[in-house]
């Protein structure tokens, strides 16, 4: 059966629906990085060792907004809340929803003024809680 890609999700930040530039939204669920290395047992035998790096287990959501007054107000509010923001990602085409708790807007946002100028926002948070 053909599957449908996630292309038109709804983004809520602190219970407010956010209008963002289409196709600019990215997320990382915060499952982190893992690695597998080999160790030798001698005589040509090896065994793999699996490492799970907790240091990399941070959720991430990034998107762009057009440079508007609302974008500036939202940015000010998000920064003021520190890591007390909550981001909800809801995919309209499926039952997928994700929550990124204790999110902080971490990047420095440069507001460029002009025709179709955008401002990037990046949040880091607890690993996502996913509901499918």
């Amino acid at each position: 059966m053909a599957q449908q890609g996630q292309s038109s999700p709804q983004l809520l930040i602190n219970n407010v629906a956010i209008q963002f530039v289409p196709n600019s939204l990215k997320y990382d669920t915060g499952n982190g990085e893992q690695d597998v290395v080999s160790q030798s047992g001698g005589g040509g035998t090896t065994e793999t060792v699996y490492f799970d790096n907790d240091e990399t287990k941070v959720g991430m959501v990034s998107f762009e907004m057009y440079t508007t007054v609302l974008a500036l107000i939202s940015h000010t509010d998000w920064k003021a809340l520190g890591n007390a923001n909550v981001i909800e990602y809801i995919d309209s085409g499926s039952n997928l929803s994700m929550v990124f708790q204790n999110a902080a807007q971490t990047n420095k946002s440069e507001f460029e003024v002009g025709d179709k100028k955008v401002v990037p926002f990046e949040f880091k948070s607890d690993p996502a809680i996913t509901n499918v």
């Binding site: 709804q10 602190n14 219970n15 909800e88 929550v99």
Partner: protein
Amino acid sequence: MNDTPKKRFTYKLLEPISIAKNGQKVDATEIEISAPSFKNMHERGYIKTIINSTILDKTKDLSSEAIEKAEKIIEQKEEEQDDNDNSVEAAQMMMVIYAYRTPEEINKLFDTFYSLLIKTGKIDGEIITMPLIERIEPEELENLLGEYIVNFMIPSVMRQAKKK
């Protein structure tokens, strides 16, 4: 009758909805709504129009004895000043509105109410937004609108009627 306008009322949802609060997603049930102010005159005006026309339409169908009986009941309730539980009156008010108003008027009534909720309501201390309203069960929204009318609008209509 208690002539002091009510400033706010609270409504407890039977089905909690999840909201973002203090960095976490939590279940919330308690909605607090403040009385409409100068900033909400448009919304308040429309709801009052609906109530007045509904009451007028309904009284046309009632005999004079029934109207006298209803007035006596209202006076008795005012004397008791028992305004903590309006759930029966709220449900009855909604039934009458559904009976006498057109579907278009009812749609506009709910849109007006949502606008009021966003401007004057909080849920567990957080400002109500449209995405949160969409999570509330339809029947609870009807109950909430009924409570809003009974707590704020009907007393205002009654106070104005008494001045005539």
